[in-house]
Symmetry: C2
Subunit: 194 residues, 2 copies
């Protein structure tokens, strides 16, 4: 764990992200994180952070912000509804593939946040997912989709896309672009009328 330009704090966050992804939040102790940083005791970390849950919280919130930022880029473009949905899908899975650690927190580990933060996270995530539902709503309105139920269609789309975090590996056979395109194409086909 050596690095040049990033602050020590960021290095800790990165180590935590990786461990939270591979072991899970609860199975990762402060001593594990310290180990990965080549420090000799969990106590050393507390010069840089306030506590374990703060790490989880920061990773979770930054993950949401990354998803939203990627979505903003797509929404700014002038595209027909279905093409916009396709691009939104591609952006979404691209964020996951680029940030597997953050994605693990975003999808799974966030539930170990304290009550207050967990509720705020859920609210922000719901707001993000609502943007997908809006795009899907447009597709149903224009009678392009085979699925009449807006909510079901949204859950189907996001569920199918999010599954990628469980099997995608950066050193895999297919390039990130290939995976993103294949994924968006397949899920969109599942939505469209035949």
């Amino acid at each position: 764990m050596s690095n040049g330009s990033t602050t020590r704090r960021d290095q800790i966050r990165l180590a935590a992200e990786e461990l939270f992804r591979t072991r899970g939040y609860l199975a990762t102790s402060m001593r594990h994180i310290a180990d990965k940083m080549e420090l000799s005791g969990g106590g050393s970390l507390y010069a840089h952070i306030h506590g374990k849950e703060d790490l989880l919280w920061e990773i979770a919130i930054d993950a949401i912000d990354t998803f939203i930022a990627a979505q903003d880029v797509v929404w700014a473009r002038d595209l027909p509804p279905i093409e916009k949905l396709r691009e939104a899908m591609i952006a979404h899975v691209s964020v996951i593939m680029n940030q597997l650690g953050a994605a693990a927190v975003y999808f799974d580990e966030w539930r170990h946040l304290g009550d207050e933060r967990r509720q705020e996270f859920a609210a922000r995530r719901d707001a993000y997912e609502q943007r997908f539902q809006a795009l899907i709503h447009a597709g149903i309105e224009s009678d392009d989709f085979a699925i009449p139920d807006e909510r079901f269609a949204t859950l189907y789309v996001l569920g199918a896309l999010n599954a990628i975090r469980r099997w995608y590996r950066p050193d895999g056979r297919l390039s990130p672009d290939e995976v993103a395109n294949l994924m968006a194409e397949s899920v969109l086909n599942g939505l469209l009328k035949r």
Copy 2:
């Protein structure tokens, strides 16, 4: 936690299943399980079980067996390949909807098994998933599918189907049959040529 015909041991397994689903395995203590059984201390459980991990293991293995049994029924029927795949999908999501607790262990919590058991679980699960890949292989051979990559198609299908465990609720708007059919239909559409 009162019941008539089931053994005390099965009641404990049921309580554990529910807690593993809602809190996660690591966040569930033996004292939590005892609480749910209205016992006044974690020690009381050890008259019935050998240890916490044994509970996880039993739930995981029974989940696999349930998936396989459902699949056997489908394979025994004489159906054209694509219809067989559709029925396999329906059976798969039906098991998930009927056993949300076991599904949580099957998909997420199994990784907290010890090394040996974890490897055996992974092997059995891979064997199960291989059956889906065989059905998909047939569809690609007969030139019915738009996705040429067999492995990707399998991951797409299972990923999309499995996502259901994250949002399906037994008291939801749609009936289990409606959900299963919609799900299979959508995912299959994503696979087929247009």
